[in-house]
């Protein structure tokens, strides 16, 4: 038995130890990174932290593609202040602690001028205090938790925030779908999910609906039957699942298997290609709030989709669109700023007004959040289809 105790102890140690794995920049960026390292003065270096591996890898990869596209376009158009732009990406394995060490490395070792990232709010929250302390502006493409930009005046985002997203879904469920009862299944490990849950619950109740039950899971679980069985008893008309695509797909499948008949609703976290592979038919008919729809006919959106498809062979999801927007907001501010020092660049970003982003026109408010409308999409035939726009 002594060996067994030793084994358990070793395992616990290893579990702590594995957090400090060193990240490797993806192959595609090594060339750029090497170039940037070689001739620092000709290149403006932008840092990006993203979940290129781990549970939310699809988010990080889409965002990186969007950022890459924006940087390439800016370089083709002559760069900024006569210099070319380069981006250095570090992977955070979808973990906050890795995101924190990656951003430290970008700030102290690579001395980047601007930081882009992260998608998940929990990871952005780990990064923001470091960027704030170093006085280097950070733009999160798609972290919707309100506390992210509250960290300090160097932290920005180009997306709307959770209260708005929760409000959009509560309003749509109550006014358009006419639901009287709803239940919630939230991911307790994610600041995003907890934030959306709070607002949805409050708004739905204020509008006269009743939240009959709330259950929780932890990111990375694969068996949700216990919670779903408990929710089935309550017979909710709608089930709000503000989680991420990989969990939601499995949840939908298991709900169907257990005979839980309800309409599922979610947020932008559903938007990843594996959702349809995982969820299959079980996900059909669900509603989500999101940043943009690929069905939007406006030229700026269609133009972006065309270029993105040529480059990456897939239809961009909202994370790609927001990654693209975040980089463009940053680049545009660099052009306007008198110098690329932290304080000057910060002022320039803060002054962003009526910027024509792919995912809506961006005006940054006093809280450094973007104010813009959200769209409601419905899953039909394995795709998201546009159903409504909800304004702030």
């Amino acid at each position: 038995m002594r060996e067994l105790a030793l084994a358990v102890l070793t395992l616990a140690l290893v579990a702590c130890e594995k957090k400090s794995t060193v990240e490797t920049p993806p192959a595609g960026d090594q060339k750029q990174a090497a170039k940037a390292g070689g001739a620092e003065s000709d290149v403006i270096l932008i840092g990006e932290v993203g979940s290129l591996t781990g549970s939310e890898a699809a988010f990080g990869i889409s965002t990186r593609n969007g950022v890459d596209l924006a940087i390439e376009e800016a370089n083709e158009a002559g760069g900024v202040k006569g210099k070319k732009l380069a981006v250095r990406v570090y992977d955070d394995q979808s973990k906050p602690e890795e995101a924190a060490s990656a951003v430290t490395r970008l700030l102290t070792q690579d001395k980047v001028k601007l930081i882009l990232g992260e998608v998940a709010s929990s990871n952005s929250l780990a990064m923001a205090p470091k960027a704030q302390a170093a006085k280097v502006p950070m733009i999160s493409p798609s972290s919707t938790n309100p506390t992210v930009t509250e960290v300090g005046d160097y932290i920005f985002r180009v997306c709307f925030i959770d209260p708005f997203q929760g409000y959009v879904m509560a309003k749509y469920a109550r006014e358009e779908l006419k639901f009287n009862t709803a239940a919630i299944l939230k991911d307790v490990k994610s600041a995003y999910s907890v934030g959306l849950t709070e607002v949805f619950e409050r708004k739905f109740t204020e509008m006269g609906g009743k939240v009959v039950g709330t259950e929780a899971y932890s990111k990375g679980d694969s068996d949700f039957r216990a919670q779903l069985t408990a929710l089935k008893k309550l017979k909710p008309q709608g089930l709000y699942i503000p989680g991420y695509y990989n969990d939601v797909g499995a949840i939908a499948q298991q709900a169907e298997e257990l005979g839980l008949k309800t309409v599922m609703m979610g947020g932008d976290g559903w938007d990843g290609p594996p959702l349809f592979e995982l969820g299959g038919k079980a996900i059909e008919g669900s509603y989500v709030s999101n940043h943009y729809s690929a069905e939007d006919p406006s030229p700026i959106v269609q133009n972006f989709i065309k270029k993105y498809q040529e480059r990456f062979k897939v239809v961009p999801d909202s994370l790609a669109a927001l990654g693209y927007d975040s980089a463009r907001v940053g680049i545009e501010a660099m052009k306007r700023a008198p110098s690329l020092d932290g304080p000057a660049l910060r002022e320039a970003i803060a002054a962003t007004k009526e910027f024509p982003g792919v995912a809506g026109t961006i005006t940054l408010n006093a809280k450094r959040d973007a104010e813009k409308p959200a769209v409601v999409l419905q899953v039909k035939d394995g795709k998201f289809h546009y159903v409504a726009t909800v304004k702030p």
Partner: protein
């Protein structure tokens, strides 16, 4: 009432998967006194092999019984080979070293496998893009078994459904448990396994091919892991390179609860663990699930350090 029965059913389904993984753990431990922490990751590799086979066969044939047999067969074979390779190159050179060395190596192999599977790597061969390593994103396991309701209790809205794959998994787990028990206690090879387990040096002096016995044990354990993995993937559908870590750990807990090295003990421990987790998640909060699972382990180890079915071994001083 129905939801209570449903909880039991869910718990048994989860327990079945733990049981199959725990059988592999317990077998290797029984023979080698080595906790093979890479076992869960071998399982994960089996799942991805099954995934690849299912897609190679083509979506049109999913649901045919021979496709399911092929998926299981190829995955088991692949895992058996991986098990053999791990044993030959990582554990055998360390066999005469302190046991802790092999244990740490096992943890190293576990991470090497699960993290290398998070890389995206594809090569261009035979005129098409072939994925070598799958990358980190979750994927959905193909429906190689057409899901049908085996038995329904109550109405559609208020009642429970027992699915064919649940019955199948449970049947396979029980059959494998009985088969293993037979192998260990009723066959010549089983006697050799027990002899090696007792003392491999003395066993070697008696003319037992120790290396071959151990290698076969690893191959068998790894093939079991592949079966477990595919049944797990059929159950929960979501597969990812890190899926083996938690299941492996839970199965290890189950094996210890049942008395590590004891075949029926592993199955009983696993089913108990599955039910315990299900009731905790269903009636209190899912956040407590893992805490209770590992708390259960601590309580069992405190009260019965040898596990529920384990035999007390006097230690020579």
């Amino acid at each position: 009432m129905y939801s209570f029965v449903q909880h039991i059913l869910n718990g048994l389904a989860a327990g079945t998967v733990y049981a199959l993984v725990a059988l592999g753990y317990t077998m290797v431990y029984g023979v080698l006194k080595l906790i093979n922490f890479a076992h869960g990751d071998v399982m994960m590799v089996g799942v991805y092999v099954g995934y690849a086979v299912a897609y190679a066969v083509g979506r049109a044939l999913w649901g045919e019984w021979y496709v399911a047999v092929l998926v299981f067969g190829v995955a088991m074979l692949a895992c058996a080979l991986i098990g053999l390779a791990i044993e030959r190159f990582a554990y055998r050179p360390l066999r005469e070293r302190p046991r802790l060395t092999a244990l740490i190596t096992a943890i190293g192999i576990s991470f090497a496998i699960s993290y290398s599977f998070q890389l995206d790597l594809s090569v261009h061969a035979f005129g098409r893009e072939l994925t070598v390593l799958p990358g980190a994103a979750s994927r959905g396991f193909p429906d190689i078994i057409t899901r049908t309701v085996w038995m329904q209790l109550g109405s559609d809205d208020d009642g429970i459904k027992i699915w064919n794959w649940q019955v199948l998994s449970f049947g396979i787990a029980l059959a494998l448990m009985v088969g293993l028990q037979f192998l260990v206690f009723k066959t010549r090879f089983g006697r050799a396994m027990r002899a090696v387990s007792f003392d491999h040096r003395v066993a070697a002096l008696m003319g037992i091919p120790v290396d071959r016995v151990i290698a076969f044990t690893f191959a068998l354990g790894s093939a079991l892991a592949a079966t477990a993995g595919i049944l797990y993937a059929i159950k929960d559908r979501k597969i990812e390179p890190l899926m083996g870590l938690m299941v492996g750990l839970k199965a290890f807990v189950a094996a210890v609860i049942g008395g590590i090295g004891h075949v029926p003990g592993a199955v009983v421990g696993a089913l108990a663990l599955g039910l315990c987790e299900e009731f905790v998640a269903g009636y209190t909060s899912s956040s407590w699930r893992d805490a209770v699972a590992f708390g259960f382990l601590i309580v069992v180890l405190l009260l019965r350090p040898e596990g529920l079915f384990g035999r007390v071994q006097a230690e020579k001083v």
